[in-house]
Point group: C2
Chain length 159, copies 2
């Protein structure tokens, strides 16, 4: 895990929040917030109240969207940290809903990118003009894993 | 494909729309609408304007949520048609984003449930008090498959 907040200008996290709020109306309506970048990874959150289902637990569509955007945000931060300019696109994802999410503030955490993977990602982008990152995210509820997500993202260089 | 609109009271489609609008705030904000139940399957839609991303195409989180709810709706219809009362829960799903979705009205279609699968589902529910349905949905854009989704749902009988 080399993506530390100490390496990351606070302005970049603010830019990510502003970009999401401004450019993706549903993220704004879900109340998605940048939470933290620390040794566990990169976290974003949504309030349960806006994102509940008919059983008053987290709506699967919102839980997936939160994980999708949190990992997208991680790619955004890694790309920016290395000065790679491009469009970030999700290619595929998979998700397991292990138990209902009952937290009032639902937090998804995208785990860090290993050094070797990061190095490969940056090299690929510089060689080919595009590169892939496979990421994982988790949502906990009551101290237990409640949602397990994996997604495959591509950064496409602007020609 | 045995789930035909001719077998399905119009009131049931209206009940599904009302349930989703009333019980899941984000579905209402996404503008999810019941579209059709026909030989191709069960379709729901959202407007692109509310569900766009920063590239003015369908936001991945909304596309996944639309597919998730459309297949959830299919399970709701099948369960109701057979008089099975229970909570419908999604266990896992996978999605491929094949190309950007540019349609002004984004439509997801959940393909029908084969006779054998439907029979097994109903038998399992009556024997065990719960039963599983694996479903697929697709979103097209410009006449081509743009999103491919599969999800595994469980109906849990109310004790």
């Amino acid at each position: 895990m080399t993506l530390r907040s100490i390496d990351m200008p606070h302005e970049l996290l603010e830019e990510l929040q502003t970009t999401i709020d401004r450019e993706i109306p549903m993220c704004s309506k879900m109340g998605i917030r940048v939470e933290a970048l620390d040794e566990r990874g990169f976290s974003m959150s949504v309030p349960l109240e806006l994102n509940r289902n008919h059983q008053l637990t987290g709506f699967a569509g919102s839980l997936n969207a939160l994980c999708t955007v949190t990992c997208w945000g991680m790619v955004f931060l890694v790309a920016r940290q290395h000065g790679l300019a491009g469009d970030i696109v999700i290619r595929r994802s998979g998700i397991k809903y292990l138990r209902p999410v009952e937290s009032e503030q639902i937090v998804a955490t995208c785990t860090g990118v290993a050094d070797a993977e990061r190095t490969h990602f940056v090299e690929m982008f510089r060689e080919k003009g595009q590169a892939k990152l496979d990421l994982r995210a988790e949502i906990q509820s009551g101290g237990q894993g409640a949602v397990s997500f994996h997604g495959s993202y591509v950064v496409l260089g602007k020609s």
